[in-house]
Amino acid sequence: MSPKTLYDKIWDAHVAHEADDGTCLLYIDRHLVHEVTSPQAFEGLRMTGRKVRAPEKTIAVPDHNVPTTLDRAKGIENEESRIQVDALDKNAREFGVHYYPVSDVRQGIVHIVGPEQGWTLPGMTVVCGDSHTATHGAFGALAHGIGTSEVEHVLATQTLIQKKSKNMKVEITGKLMPGVTAKDITLAVIGETGTAGGTGYVIEYCGEAIRDLSMEGRMTVCNMAIEGGARAGLIAPDETTYAYVKGRPHAPKGAQWEAALNWWKTLYTDEDAVFDKVVTLKGEDIQPVVTWGTSPEDVLPITGVVPHPESFKGGKVDAAKRALEYMGLTAGQKLTDIQIDTVFIGSCTNGRIEDLRAAAAILKGKKIKDGMRAMIVPGSGLVRAQAEEEGLADIFKEAGFEWRLAGCSMCLAMNPDQLSEGERCAATSNRNFEGRQGYKGRTHLVSPAMAAAAAITGHLTDIRDMI
């Protein structure tokens, strides 16, 4: 038998039908659903009289529109947001899928809730009408975002029409230096490959620095595979994975656990398997990074300066000029001189317990700069509860942070958490696009520790100066 990559193995285990031209029906093990990209899909089922084929494999949770202020039990003020969340509630109940309503302590960002509840397991296929579905690849699951038409297709048939992607390996060798985190790895990779570098590929992340990451860190890395253009990012499951999964509410138990474990242990890339593209970074070369522009590929080490647009090639020259104007920056300016108005810690990229611990380690006993607007939005109600139990919430509140309820919040600003025009934010989220966090808002993507540091100093800060 020819050697296979991890992606090949998961793919092969899920092909329900293959046409002569290689077009496949890929069976979907878990379908996650949120309120923004699903209403038209459920409506489509209703109009055609179709049912959800596998409601027991479908999990719905509202996250994009939900308020994160402590008074959210009062309801959602914005009428359109409320209608969308109400529509999910109605659809989830009518079609009988698993559902975590806003009032449930387990509610949170769909990509945090899935793993937390043990819905996401190694070797699965996982989809959601959300590009950051890539997150679940951290478990060695083939996970990717889909459009609403495909959401309807999966609801109706539990399959997706797919052609296989190519294999790409991203290896991070050696150890990370102090102050360097999973977020820095994933941004550094995008800085290296560009936002289209992964287009047409499924990435497998490997190497010692990846192995050394916790599940939280691995989820951060895979989460942003989509920003690198890849269909999905994967990390082979290992003891770290099994330890995280074991005992979660929907993880297999008893004899089934043993059977699952036996299969999961076969999920690795065979030694002689061939990748179509390979990128290797040395762990020790990766520095704490920050984005300066309006694309996630606009990445530089925090010690750098804002680049000159002329230093780029082709269409990127004009894009960089536009980005500098939008961001209100001048070429040659030191990144650490960039003053920050707002700090946002949260999102499916960095809203897990380990992220909050990293921020708390910097914030302990400190105060945020006068006039700074700073908020921490945990990724789920359970992350919030755990942070309170560990005393992290007290550290945040004493430092001057707002301590919010779970949701997507200011990552995409569909709820009231938004930047105003010209407001500059150090954010632990995943996209620095124009208008992403609010009309004319300015976003610098950073790790949780770097975000916490910026909240204290009032400017982008090299975390290594504070540890």
Binding site: V36, S131, G147, S149, H153, I161, E297, K316, L412, Y439
Partner: protein
């Protein structure tokens, strides 16, 4: 779904690289639970001032391009969020084909579900088409899906590749779900076998 066979129309040039789906349709417009009506907000933040007046120099506001049916765009068009509202907005505006050197994966797939043809061509070809698009309303570009060609107003012809199955579905305006349901027996068989081999799923 609308069929796509041939198209002869005005092409609007948008040379900016990395045009993301937040630019195509900002999130404030994602709160609708309908599939229609997004066209007026296509490229909203680039197209309108805060007071709702048009940004005069934005390409789709220029008289020559208000009826554009083709977009010639910079690299990596449609990157970012998976929102299908992006192709819904493009189709609702009246654009039926987008040409670029590369598209983000999810956006590319979403186009085919909405009667839009995304066309990938090499940089040199896109450069020629961009120049042709810059000529304005007098330059009509022709797209022929059956023949897999784009023809400039000067008669330059560029051939493009497209997946045979996707092409077939677009030419015929086929409903994916109905097609898949014809293979229900294969899905049943797979599901039964998987429930034995991976019962924990």
């Amino acid at each position: 779904m609308d069929k796509f066979e041939k198209l002869s129309g005005i092409a609007a040039p948008m040379p900016l690289v990395n045009i993301d789906t937040d630019m195509i349709i900002p999130k404030v417009f994602l709160k609708s639970i309908a599939r229609t009506g997004f066209g007026k907000n296509l490229f909203d933040e680039m197209r309108y001032n805060r007071d709702g007046t048009e940004v005069a120099d934005f390409v789709l506001n220029q008289p020559a391009y208000r009826e554009a049916q083709i977009l010639v765009a910079g690299d990596n068009f449609g990157c970012g969020s998976s929102r299908e509202h992006a192709p819904w907005a493009i189709a609702d505006f009246g654009i039926k084909a987008v040409i670029s050197t590369s598209f983000a994966d999810i956006f590319y797939n979403n186009c085919f579900k909405n009667g839009i043809l995304p066309i990938v061509l090499p940089q040199e070809a896109v450069d020629v088409l961009m120049k042709d698009a810059e000529k304005g309303a007098n330059a009509r570009m022709d797209v022929d899906l059956e023949a897999q060609t784009v023809t400039t107003s000067d008669g330059d012809v560029f051939a493009f590749e497209v997946d045979a199955f996707k092409k077939h579905c677009l030419l015929e305006g086929l409903d994916d779900i109905a097609l898949t349901m014809e293979k229900a027996a294969a899905i049943d068989t797979f599901e039964a076998a998987a429930s034995q081999s991976r019962p924990w799923v």
